[in-house]
């Protein structure tokens, strides 16, 4: 680099990275912090207000515990406790699918990473491709298929498709291929372990972190799933909470004036429902942030 170039570069650095440049960047970042934070903070505060207070009071002043209790009562009294049933359904679907996902994915990822069999490569490529398609893309095709076998409306119509979780298999595959040396398995075989014992006694105990990771991802994705249950479950009793929110929304006069009636839902109650619908996932996020990030980056390798 010539001296002239260097001089120009220094001058430019002064002009953009000087304090005015820094201030602009800081302001922009601050705006984004507000953009990400305000809706969440406000949502939490909204659950502690009355319907009237929500509109007239300062949006960022906490309300009263009494209002929170009243909202709670209205929410869980909605359609004779429908919300409790919806949360229960969500738990059933998410946990049911979680168990099947683990039973299916962990051994499959293990076998694909550390054993040889025909179609191994085919299965691996299929896994990669399906993993990268958005999971909504197959919902209507799966509906058309399950409609033929008459499963629509049954919990299985949600649990079984959710259990197909190629991303979990991929994560397990990556983990076993990078973290468990084949020599270890060979040693166990020499010691007289059968193939099944090699898996249960040697590989599985080493796989605790990946089991937890797959479980987290599966749970979060299934709990938040909207399109699949929306399509598969026609009756309100079977809704998970994510779909139940649409019923609550339809009964909120503020958004849907035709719904005013005995079963109407006030805005703070709807806010409380929103909070409750994400609570389990929010807790997972708070405690497993590092985990989740590790899993997302596992999608790719560096050059």
């Amino acid at each position: 680099m010539t001296t002239v170039d260097a001089g120009r570069a220094v001058a430019r650095r002064k002009s953009v990275s000087g304090w005015s440049g820094r201030t602009i960047v800081a302001v922009v970042v601050a705006i984004f912090v507000l953009f990400f934070v305000i809706p969440i903070v406000w949502l939490l505060l909204a659950t502690t207000k009355s319907a009237h207070g929500l509109i007239v009071e300062n949006p960022f002043r906490p309300g009263a515990i009494g209002d929170l209790a009243a909202n709670w009562e209205q929410l869980f009294g909605f359609q004779d406790g429908a919300v409790t049933a919806w949360v229960g359904n969500s738990a059933l679907y998410a946990l049911g699918a979680l168990v099947i996902t683990l039973v299916a994915s962990i051994p499959a990822g293990y076998a694909m990473a550390l054993t040889e069999f025909r179609f191994r490569r085919l299965l691996l490529v299929l896994t990669l491709i399906v993993m990268l398609i958005p999971n909504t893309a197959l919902v209507l095709p799966i509906f058309l298929e399950l409609n033929v076998v008459g499963l629509i409306g049954s919990p299985l119509s949600v649990i079984l498709p959710m259990s197909f979780f190629p991303f979990g298999v991929y994560l397990t595959y990556i983990y076993f291929s990078t973290s468990v040396p084949r020599d270890l398995l060979a040693a166990a075989r020499l010691d007289g372990c059968g193939e099944f014992q090699v898996f249960t006694r040697v590989a599985l105990p080493l796989a605790a972190p990946i089991v937890a990771l797959v479980a987290f991802f599966s749970f979060v994705q299934n709990w938040n799933n909207f399109f699949l249950p929306f399509v598969m479950l026609p009756s309100s009793e079977g809704y998970p909470i994510q779909v139940g929110l649409t019923s609550l929304l339809a009964s909120t006069p503020a958004f849907n004036p035709s719904s005013a009636g005995t079963q109407s839902v006030q805005l703070p109650t709807l806010a409380l429902a929103t909070v409750i619908s994400v609570l389990p996932v929010l807790i997972v996020f708070l405690f497993a942030q590092r985990f989740l990030v590790a899993g997302m980056t596992a999608g790719g390798t560096k050059e």
Binding site: L128, F199, N224, V231, V278
Partner: protein
Amino acid sequence: MTVTDEAARSAVIPPGRPAGRSDGGERSAMSYAFIALYAVLTVAFGILPALYSLYLAFTDGDGGFAGIANFTKVMSDFRFLPAVGHVALYLVIWLVALVVLVSFLAIVVHAVRVRWLSRTLRFVFYLPGALAGASSVLLWLFVLDPTASPVGGLLRLMGFSSFVQVIVPANLPPVFAVIAFWTGAGGWIVIMYGALNNISADVIEAARIDGAGTVQIAWHIQLPMLRKWISYMGIMSLAAGTQLFVEPQLLSQASNAIVPNDYSLNQLAYQYAFQQNDFNGAAAISLLLLVVALALSAVFVTRGGLFERG
């Protein structure tokens, strides 16, 4: 990182067949047992539904071969092109915002030297990811309703005094883009941050000695090194964005159908299946969307280089 990669590659591509031929039979039998359940699920919920849609899309209601009649029918439906337009406009706004802002925010957060500040920023950006699907849409219904909104003043400043004014059709693509960005950007910022951490400090230091400023380093070194991750983000988001469903569906419900219930392609497919009982038409639209998603995914698996282990 490089070390583990090497290990990974050598683990995946073993030099020869594993030793111990004598029990090879038992071993591969056991492998089939390990993959059996997953293979069944793959067939039942990956391959079969795709094939069945293929079958439905090319047959008529009575099962007779229909050629491309279903495709011409849905494509000439007066709702089809507008739906494509809506989704396309939303995608353009969202993807541009995602690429520009995520790269910018990741580089800024990475430049923050104060550790707790950098960690807090990442956490704050990331947290909205917990609210997905219907929950985040409901939250944004509140935020966009000037009477209840925490930023009602801002909305009124922009000339909106009622919810109905905010969600006029022309505003929807940016509105959906904002919701999607709010929910999804944080995860990508954290990923980009991790990728930036992998750029060797020596390279940055050398550039600095050569007189490069922060902006030049970002532009000439950091951004090119992020390119692979940015294209990963772009392709994943493009594929996911074509599936737009829950946002317009809920808005349509919340707005008393000011937002039509056939705003996006997936909604149109849903209308075909559930309002018109035309499964062949629904299958045709689903198949079009599936082909787009599959093509993007396949391009990425074969060309992207991110999955070179496979």
